[in-house]
Point group: D3
Chain length 283, copies 6
């Protein structure tokens, strides 16, 4: 994850939440009052982004804030676990609180959900991957949380991976024509992936030498047949309709990857709170 880009994002998030100033906090606290605080888990979760997201919010706000003992990415936390320690001006701790929590709760939500999917396919070959169904503006952070949860990333944007879909195929007439056009123009550094809806299309993919075949909403039975047909000549990505209930059965068909939009579009923000040590009345 690129830190310069991250800081740029965080500045935007802080501007959104703070506006021209915190009129409550600025009235109550002097500019010099210091405090300590911790971020604390309120439910079981997989930690993600305590240093890189939550801690960084406070560092961007005020580099003099001490950000200590961030819980390591990927560690499981139980309710009550301290996930980050902070010390600095009260004003800045309160100004950064909401953005830090809004980020941390979502990233831990994604990592925790991803881990559940990853655990479901334990021992099998298939890898859990995300999609481009991310929250606008948060893709870099959300894909980071997927990695923390043990998942893998699909392409980041339309420029760093090829995915030939039904509309592209229709426009070219055949899969082979579409693959030809793309292969003649796309950087050689990216693989060619094609979405197939039938065994016939899978065969066309193989004939065209595609690198990855995405199976769109196929039945388990169809997937098994595809795996057999492909026989290792391309990677196979299952996609569509995957749930925690059926993911293991999908993995057992032998596909290489299972991409799941829900990792980033239907996670829950988990319970994390900022607890501040009481500040003495200003004398």
């Amino acid at each position: 994850m690129d830190e310069l880009l991250l800081d740029h994002l965080i500045m935007g998030f802080l501007a959104e939440d703070i506006g021209p100033g915190d009129i409550t906090t600025d009235a109550v606290f002097g500019i010099d009052q210091q405090a300590s605080a911790v971020l604390q888990a309120g439910e079981p979760l997989v930690a993600a982004g305590m240093a890189l997201a939550a801690g960084r919010v406070f560092r961007v706000l005020n580099p003099s804030i001490a950000v200590e003992e961030p819980m390591e990415d990927g560690r499981r936390a139980e309710p009550g676990a301290v996930m980050l320690k902070l010390r600095g001006p009260v004003r800045d701790l309160l100004r950064g609180e909401r953005v830090a929590l809004n980020l941390a709760q979502r990233l831990c939500g994604i990592a925790t959900l991803t881990r559940k999917y990853v655990d479901q396919v334990a021992g099998l070959n298939a890898q859990i991957t995300d999609t481009r169904k991310t929250t606008p503006g948060l893709r870099m952070l959300e894909k980071y949380a997927v990695r923390v949860g043990g998942g893998r990333n699909h392409r980041f944007n339309l420029a760093d991976g090829v995915l030939i879909k039904d509309n592209h195929i229709a426009a070219c007439g055949t899969i082979s024509a579409a693959v030809g056009r793309v292969r003649a123009r796309a950087p050689h550094t990216v693989r060619i992936e094609v979405e197939a809806e039938s065994l016939a299309q899978v065969r066309e993919c193989l004939d065209s030498g595609v690198d990855i075949i995405m199976l769109d909403n196929m039945s388990l039975d169809e997937m098994r047949r595809v795996v057999k047909l492909v026989g290792g000549r391309a990677r196979i990505e299952a996609s569509g309709g995957i749930t925690l209930e059926n993911v293991r059965r999908v993995a057992e068909t032998g596909v290489d990857m299972i991409s799941i939009g829900a990792l980033t579009h239907s996670y829950k923000a988990l319970d994390i709170s900022l607890e501040m040590e009481p500040v003495n009345p200003k004398s």
Copy 2:
């Protein structure tokens, strides 16, 4: 919702998703090929942002795209319902698809969830309101969707509302001291809201003439006693632990507002897809 700010956000979302260019689509489609497409509901939902968010994505991308018949905000859509019609260069329809869907699915998710809460308290006085627990970068849009769903907005940022919380009170010694400090500095255009954790604190609030009292995680019984004690001298906002199951019982206590973080932090992206009319092979 401010359209200039909105367009600025959308440009950022598009940049994130497109990167330096769509290497698949650019290889397949000529710059002049035109197509039509619709956005279609895949499950029952409350429409939100079809014109202002989804449609605007395409207009920002290319002002020549025709964006027609957006489903009206707040209307209930059944599966298969057409929510927006588009016509323009294929390249731009495909480049905008993901961002438009990522936004539309989320905004409809929020409006739909909000509507469920609002329906639960039908006939009662209490209003459903959101919180600052929004997705970083999406607050303006998410709060818009809450309004579409029949909910009300809490403060947008730290500058446009006063909320005196436990840390502020502790720092000042008493609620009355905290209220005094804030009243002496905050713009007279905003109300003074204080978070109270006990009846004793509610009494302090009344003595200090606060405008709104937020009850933090009180029992139904406590809330009823507060409503009686306050007797209309301040507005009462219930907060914490609200679910679709208990929201009506909370409303029945007589509180004026019920604020629910889940509206914006735990909604589901709903199923909406872009269906493009097949494009003929380029001759």
Copy 3:
């Protein structure tokens, strides 16, 4: 005042003044030459923003510059008084000079003018407030200076306060209809303010339960009658045609607030200069 936003503003101001580089100073001084300088008052004034604005300009330009002993906000300075001490690379002191002075002179101008109005109403209930008639791009800083001078802030922007004016009323037919529409949509955290031009309209305001009534260009006599009529049921803001000469008479009518556009649109930049300790010729 939000410091992240402030630094962003200052960077823009410096870019405007410096352009691609200071061709005079860069030719004369080596990159390592150090100097000391002070900001000095040239006329009696109320200090505002010496640390937050003037000092910050130099810190943004070069964090290694020592910025010391800023005169406290709100203190009265006599001609010759040292308001800020600086020490660092000559080049940076000269590059920052103009922006720092341009800001300091204006902020002190606002604070000094505000203080005059505030002093005029000493002992009375009325508070002096600003308006949205601020210099484009400087609102946050100008409203800060108003607070330093003892004034209060009206709403910061169109989103953080409700003000129903003649056009809104005309469009809705009656004040009560306008208030109803706004109350049904605006966040509950902001007060409802309505502009009234007659006693009849003041009565309508009271019937509609508005929180604040703005009296637009009323005579002293009308204001007195309004104060009596309202009897504490709403706050009253006098507006229009206020001068240093008549402000006390307006306050004596018993209004709660007096809003004055001149605080931010017709102040004078006061005389403050940067005096640098002579730098020895570079050997």
Copy 4:
């Protein structure tokens, strides 16, 4: 004035004033309601920026707004004169009103003040010029208004003009050394200007072949002697302590330019208002 830069500035000004949205207007007016409005002078003034600043604010906000009959830059307007006509969505007229007025009032203020100085020196050789004592963020617009008022512009920033001041001279030992260093590095396209505090320094300037000599706070008598001494070998700029009362006497000394910080740091925002034609109640 560069229009791309101008639009960028205007977007920032609108964002500052509107924030996430106009909660009053959006509640009252439908998105389709249209209205007409005019900008009207409330006192005698010299028009400046009606098309380029005020009108452009509305065009940036919504390109479909009709902006017509802007009063020509430099024309004198009497109270009641219509300076600009607008027609478009009510919402956008109200959202743009404050920024347009805040700009127009200031620019007309500068043009009007500049004109007064220019009129004072009518028939004499001296030209009135501005300085870098402009409002941070508004320099391009303020210097434009100076030109409209008949004044001339001094350098725009530190990169597009050379001005060797006391600190530069002290650091180099002599004026001739300072001029030498600058001449060896600055682009040949800019003139060399030096600030002189005595006749001796003026002589040094002449010996060094400087193009412009700035006289800092000299008496009328000294200025006369300088004019005689220089005898056309360099241009002479008078600076410091210039008022409407003494400007003609300064001009009569024979100096070429008189630079006046007050043009941009101590002007008054003039009375201009937006009058909207009543909008019928929404049926």
Copy 5:
């Protein structure tokens, strides 16, 4: 190439060149004077970016400028050939001239140079590709020009392709360890490329199943041996020390790609000029 990003870049280029305004042109031409102009080739070249770069500069500057008959990308132009026709306000044609030419001359320079390399390897299998040795800020445009010239693009940035170099290998101990680490984390949509300096390393690459092997500065003889050894199991990219003189010999070794930094770091800006039809004196 993404047009939103492109327009953003162009705005920055125009701001750099125009600054606060064109003081020569604004003094000479009225805002309404119209003119026609053409961009004309001054030497033989391959056209690139006449519509997307040069034409777009004028459209960004003023959407009312007519931009017609751009020479098609990839066409060879002879001296005197008209490459673009323009018609619009003289001021805007002159303000955009330099940026449009600076871009067009460079993009045509790249396309022309690329075409020379591509022509040298005509009939052979090898493809000419660019590198990340592009001009900071211009990568998207420069890589576009490479494609226009018949070349192919290597990765756009560090996120959309894997290239394991000597430092990565040294840090992991072996190529296989490095590949393993990267394969376990990088998106499955990108190929794995490894830089090899010897046949031993090429063998390690094959054993690790890498997709692309980059040969760094190998002799023709070594390359031939690598091609034989690899036998189609991976793609081979030749790199380092390629010139127009030796590129065909390199291609004849059988490598798949030849990457050439000079395409984007050592091209010449070609001679293109803007010829304006004389504008009549303003009466």
Copy 6:
């Protein structure tokens, strides 16, 4: 060169090259692994921007990187010479490498080429100057490199210098009319330069009192006659068709300046590489 603007540029360059993250390096190196590296010349060159450009890239990326012993601007380096020393996290050294080299190679290329032209005219009066034919986005840096190489800068943008060309003259009818219009509006701080194509036009320039006369593509003989005719009453700038071969002959005609577009549009990126000290395998 303004460092704030420079840092802003560098952030954009880094964002372009890094994208959402370096997927190779992040997989291989831990966040804490440190390394040392040097930038090394690969061919004879004149150093430019080692501290201000290359070193600053790393400081912007991570302020904790030690940037030491930058080779002084203008020094001649032989192959193998160490030009900059770096020490810090391996990840950041590798992430910054390409941008730092892309800048350093270009700036040294410009300085080296400029020096060649400057050396050619050694002992003569003429100065070598650049033009506005710079790479879009890099003008500030490229003009800096020209100064490092011993050249002088022409105007930076259209606002900081006057250059009246054929189109301006045609539009005004005569040179004297054009000069008059410009002199009446342009800041007095900039010189008036006019492009002349014949001796007749040179005479007109002299009659109009222009400061600088640019000779466009004149023969050596014509230039000699112009020099004689002008006789010191204006500066003379030769322009067009200058090469390393003919520059001395042009200088010998007695012109004051020789402007050369090739300095910034046809330089070569010189060979500089980053050599990293081997990093031990991560245990």
